[in-house]
Point group: C2
Chain length 428, copies 2
């Protein structure tokens, strides 16, 4: 029997988990990603707020999979497929195209920001979903302060007003981190500036932050944010965004040059590009075993897949979180292992084991909700958050670097690489 070829699209949490699970299987694995690095998305907000360097949250995929002998990495973009012939069409930077035959195709392409068609947000909003987003936001935030230092009148035009839309973990974490960057670091960097004029406004359309958390954690998070000076606005929606103004649904107009969009994600459009059926948020429809109906050998996992929550109300989908991606990736890999071993695919339904959720609200504050009803708040939750993220981080070297940076930031109230820097692909 010829060795099966498994192609995994996406080197995020889900794709890497699936790849690792196939390490000892009698298959050839090709892992495809448009970047040559894996991005540790949970810490992107720290790059955006100068707490970590971009290299701390990105790790070369080839470094991660170097020891897995049945795996090859391919840096390329998926531009289409012939699912009947089981051929995937790839494009490389050099605009060369490549056809890749697969026996099993695992789509793990993740998600991208969803602006829900609100006018101006696509153009003026700052998402925080990939490394380029984070560096772009960091540059923009620091440039506001440099501009105001030269021309203080710009403050009245919203140069120091930072609106964060979305009260989920990302929104809460970036809002908290911004206030700390301003009060602990930029206060020293800009002594002539009245730092208290820098405002962070957190906007959430529901009447609480941290939707998936319990009310007690929600209240704790809100209090922690307000103690840090964040203007938390609940039950509020954004109606329109301009370069120097945000308009809310109630008609209020706020001068603001920085709109950070953490209000939602949609699936990576690769599903449609492959001709697969997509549902809510562009997520690929999957059967309970995470295979795609009518397309033998095609699977979808993680953020890009519409995975029904067996335990939830009828039709509810599992959240687009790292643990779901990792567990669904392993589940699919195990199915493929069976086929590779010559056994029939068990078609076992995927069951998600919720291991809890966490969110940090800056220095020494966090909320964590673990199984068995364990709820942590404040410093213990923050330590749990630090530990978990250090363990999850890919690459021993990155773990050391991130830990050292955190220790430094915590002990000195300092921040690291607050650089305004763009690598050009061509010379100036």
């Amino acid at each position: 029997m010829e060795t099966l070829h498994v192609v995994i699209v996406g080197a995020g949490f889900g794709g890497l988990a699936a790849a690792r699970e196939l390490a000892d299987a009698p298959v050839r694995v090709t892992l495809v990603d448009k970047n040559n690095f894996h991005t540790f998305q949970p810490l992107l907000y720290q790059v955006a707020t100068s707490g970590l360097a971009s290299a701390d949250v990105a790790y070369p995929v080839r470094g991660i999979v170097a020891r897995q002998e049945n795996l090859a990495f391919r840096q390329a973009t998926v531009i289409g497929a012939d699912l009947g012939a089981k051929v995937l069409h790839l494009q490389h930077d050099e605009h060369e195209v490549e056809d890749l035959h697969y026996d099993h195709l695992v789509v793990a392409a993740g998600a991208s920001t969803n602006t829900f068609g609100i006018p101006g947000v696509d153009h003026h909003g700052f998402p925080l979903y990939n490394l380029a987003d984070a560096v772009r936001l960091r540059n923009h935030v620091l440039e506001r302060f440099e501009a105001v230092d030269a021309e203080p009148a710009l403050i009245d035009e919203g140069a120091l007003t930072f609106v964060v839309v979305g009260g989920g973990p990302t929104g809460v974490e970036v809002a908290g981190a911004l206030t700390e960057l301003f009060k602990m670091v930029l206060r020293k960097d800009f002594p002539q500036l009245d730092i208290d004029r820098a405002r962070v406004v957190l906007v959430e359309m529901q009447d609480h932050v941290l939707g998936p958390f319990s009310p007690v954690s929600q209240r704790h998070a809100r209090r922690a944010l307000e103690e840090r000076g964040v203007d938390v606005r609940l039950g509020v929606q954004v109606a329109r965004a301009r370069g120097n103004q945000v308009t809310f649904a109630d008609g209020e107009e706020l001068p603001c040059q920085t709109l950070i969009w953490a209000a939602g994600v949609q699936a990576n459009p690769v599903g449609a590009a492959l001709g697969l059926t997509t549902g809510r948020g562009g997520r690929i429809e999957v059967l309970p075993d995470l295979s795609v109906a009518d397309h033998p050998g095609v699977w979808a996992i993680g953020d890009v897949a519409a995975i029904v929550d067996a335990k939830g109300r009828a039709g509810t989908l599992l959240p687009q979180l790292a643990p779901v991606a990792i567990q669904s990736g392993r589940h699919v890999a195990r199915q493929i292992c069976c086929v590779a071993a010559g056994r029939p695919a068990p078609s076992a339904p995927f069951h998600y084991r919720d291991k809890g959720t966490m969110a940090t609200i800056g220095r020494s504050r966090a909320v964590a909700e673990l199984p068995l009803g364990i709820k942590l708040r404040g410093f213990p939750a923050w330590l749990a958050w630090l530990g978990l993220h250090l363990v999850m981080l890919a690459g021993f070297r990155n773990r050391i670097s991130v830990f050292a940076n955190w220790a430094w930031n915590w002990l000195t109230y300092d921040r690291g690489p607050r650089l305004i820097f763009r690598a050009r692909s061509t010379k100036e």
Copy 2:
């Protein structure tokens, strides 16, 4: 007497040294740079070869000068001046212009690459003079390997041929570091690839590398490079560069997709923009005390200044090196201190004290020539090089990070952030 206002253009080694020397003087200092960070240029080649992250060699200027109360930083570009009225014209990112009145103007704008008008080099060559250059080169080198991994035939088109032009310290260091990146790291990252097909060619028009060094050090450096597999070609000049080919003066054509240009620098054009007299390499003509004739209060230091070497043959200029920049910056600052203290400017001529030069040739190999005829080679020279650069590096945090990275690289034969990443100023 009103406080004198000293404006320093450039936050490189020279500008920072001048600023520090003025810390206790009764003057107001404004430090101007187009970037908000100081770049530690001696280690740029390690960023280009994935040994260090960009944040390791860049440090926020505001962090460096935070404790200096008589200093303000301004991120802006110099677009001109009215030297008669002692007014400097600045431009900010927002295209706002600002007029800055000065009593003393210290021009410390550094240098940029000089391609000597050789056809194609401006467009196809990769300089290594600023942080953007280094990251751009790193991206390009890693992209060659990704491309070849997908399409091995590209090797015959020069995808893995890396020509380094210039046998000075920068050329020697980048050539040595490239061979180590290939043999120690990319060999593991690209197991399917015959890494020995990756070639590094070092081209020097003179008959020896490391011009300023003694013949024994030159021979040692050349031997060390050749032991690492570098094809060292002496007495050779580049006649033309194309995207996939280099043509040498003798007519030989070499397929090559990466031409690294380390063959020379010229002064930053700011001198001409300010209407100052410039000489060889666009360097600003200065009097022996580093003041500019006919323009009271204007001084030039470091790479941008044509400083005559009092000890050298008539007309020879001091080399464009960090120690010259630092010493000349301090010299000018001391002159200004005298004036600020109400004493007449001593018009003391600047005397450069040569403290020696060093160049590293990768892992555990270097050459160092210190005063009193002390010459070090191999491991001792390498340790001296490490120590000196750690001490010179701005920022305790960066010192720790660089030291940790070096220790890691040396112990594990690994490299760090081999990322292909460009921060976009706009969204894709």
